[in-house]
């Protein structure tokens, strides 16, 4: 437990968690039989928790995940209790997610706020999913299923009493995102002219207003779990908020999230057709290619800025993490995509 570390010692955290689980589930007693950090999640920490519940609402052996904040995070992400509320809304809307169970901001339990959900089986490893030839025949159907899942997320619309903490779309629309990108670049020590060019294009070509929906804001390969060929859960809801539904579609299709298969434009797993078909079939709304283009370009700018921010956690905040340090280099991959999207003439011959 030392590497990532809960603020409380392991025995104290186990005992306090057992008491919390018993109180919230109505169990006579709870024994924590396993507490192991899970890899992945640069912003959040996930812990596999195995527990035996004696009586109560979830009697028996349970395989759970406890999700809490990493030592340094990204300002734009939701708190754990807010993420828990979003997950509950998605679960109620029929989105395939790990069932959310309990949450607490009582620092006396593990030392920081957390929530608990059921542990689902499978892998979210994007490189494995996009590389595994045995998965290939099933991938178009998986893409179609994911399109349907996304459409179900987008059925959640404001106003929602339980999600009142989400910032209104007027404050997080494209114009506000552009302002935030530029504010970040003004603080960044290195000039990024390609990002400036891309942002200028976005500023000059805003899409017409649209009724906002709940966007996952990180809906991509790597953030869904596959067990064999079955989609077992959409993960990582920390960036959810109101937005243009095409924002999630553009993010899913952007080149930054195609991993080993840049040629498969829907998340590195299929052509766009099946993904769009799944979305349109579930939502009964047409996907607008022009809007997707706008948001796909914005996705490349956004991912570049996030990559630089991850690197800042090493460069500025001093977090000694090679993965974060290297992520900053990926900003240039996004810049190449911006050039490829906006300059139909392609690279000059003497580049």
């Amino acid at each position: 437990m030392a590497a990532t570390g809960l603020p409380r010692s392991e025995p104290a955290a186990r005992a306090a968690l057992a008491r919390f689980f018993a109180a919230t589930s109505g169990a006579d007693a709870v024994k924590i039989t396993g507490l192991t950090p899970l890899r992945g999640g640069a912003i959040q920490e996930n812990w596999a928790v195995d527990a035996e519940f004696s009586g109560g609402a979830v009697a028996g052996e349970q395989r759970l995940v406890l999700r809490t904040a990493a030592p340094t995070g990204v300002a734009a992400s939701l708190s754990r209790l807010e993420e828990f509320a979003v997950l509950k809304a998605a679960f109620a809307a029929g989105v395939t997610v790990p069932e959310p169970l309990w949450a607490s901001d009582d620092l006396a339990i593990i030392g920081k706020p957390f929530f608990v959900m059921r542990r689902i089986e499978g892998t979210a490893a994007a490189h494995r999913i996009t590389r595994d030839p045995t998965l290939d025949p099933a991938l178009p159907a998986i893409a179609e299923r994911l399109g349907g899942e996304l459409a179900r997320i987008h059925t959640i619309r404001p106003p929602r009493a339980g999600l009142a903490f989400l910032v209104s779309y007027e404050k997080v629309g494209p114009a506000q995102q552009i302002t935030a990108f530029r504010a970040y670049l003004d603080r960044h020590p290195m000039p990024r002219p390609v990002l400036e060019w891309g942002i200028r294009w976005l500023e000059q070509h805003p899409p017409p207003q649209i009724e906002p929906v709940l966007c996952h804001h990180d809906f991509r390969t790597g953030n869904y779990m596959l067990n064999g060929t079955a989609v077992t859960g959409i993960l990582d809801w920390e960036f959810a908020g109101w937005g243009d539904p095409h924002e999630d579609i553009g993010w899913f299709c952007s080149k930054g999230w195609r991993f080993a298969r840049l040629d498969r434009e829907a998340g590195g797993i299929s052509e766009r057709g099946p993904f769009y078909r799944g979305y349109e079939s579930e939502s009964r709304q047409s996907v607008d290619p022009a809007r997707v283009f706008f948001w796909e370009l914005l996705a490349s700018v956004r991912w570049a800025v996030i990559a630089l921010q991850q690197s800042d956690r090493y460069m500025i905040a001093g977090e000694r993490n090679l993965d974060l340090a290297l992520t900053g280099r990926r900003a240039t991959e996004c810049e190449l995509e911006i050039l490829m999207l906006l300059d139909a003439g392609g690279a000059p011959h003497d580049a």
Binding site: L185, P191, P193, E335, L336, D343
Partner: protein, 125 residues
């Protein structure tokens, strides 16, 4: 004068030892870290081999773009970034084309060090 083998040769050899000899002996839970280390070594090696040549080429392009008004090299890239933000090249198709050419050269030069495989996967080298 430095001794041989060069720093970039040592990096390449060390990376090879890490991936070919050490990796099979490492527990699976640290393989990702080992690959990140190998990736970092590869970037450092490519940057050492390229030296300052790509940067000099970009700066020469910037000087040509801004001509006599360039006032020397420091700050030219910041100036380009600012000009692109405000759309300063919108009135001249030629200058806009020249600016775009610099963006391509800059990006491709960076990726040749950071991720040549990504460059190749996009049909560039």
């Amino acid at each position: 004068m430095r001794d041989l083998p060069s720093g970039s040769e040592l990096l390449a050899l060390a990376r090879d030892v890490l991936l070919q000899e050490l990796m099979p002996q490492l527990p699976p839970e640290v393989h990702l870290d080992a690959r990140l280390i190998a990736n970092s070594m590869a970037i450092a090696q490519r940057e050492a081999l390229a030296g300052g040549t790509p940067e000099q080429g970009i700066l020469a392009d910037l000087e040509r773009l801004y001509g006599d008004a360039s006032n020397g090299r420091p700050g030219l890239l910041s100036r380009l970034a600012h000009d692109l933000r405000v759309g300063a090249f919108g009135s001249s198709e030629q200058r806009e084309r020249d600016a775009r050419r610099i963006l391509w050269r800059l990006t491709i030069a960076k990726l040749r060090s950071a991720n040549p495989r990504f460059l190749n996967a996009n049909g560039l080298s």
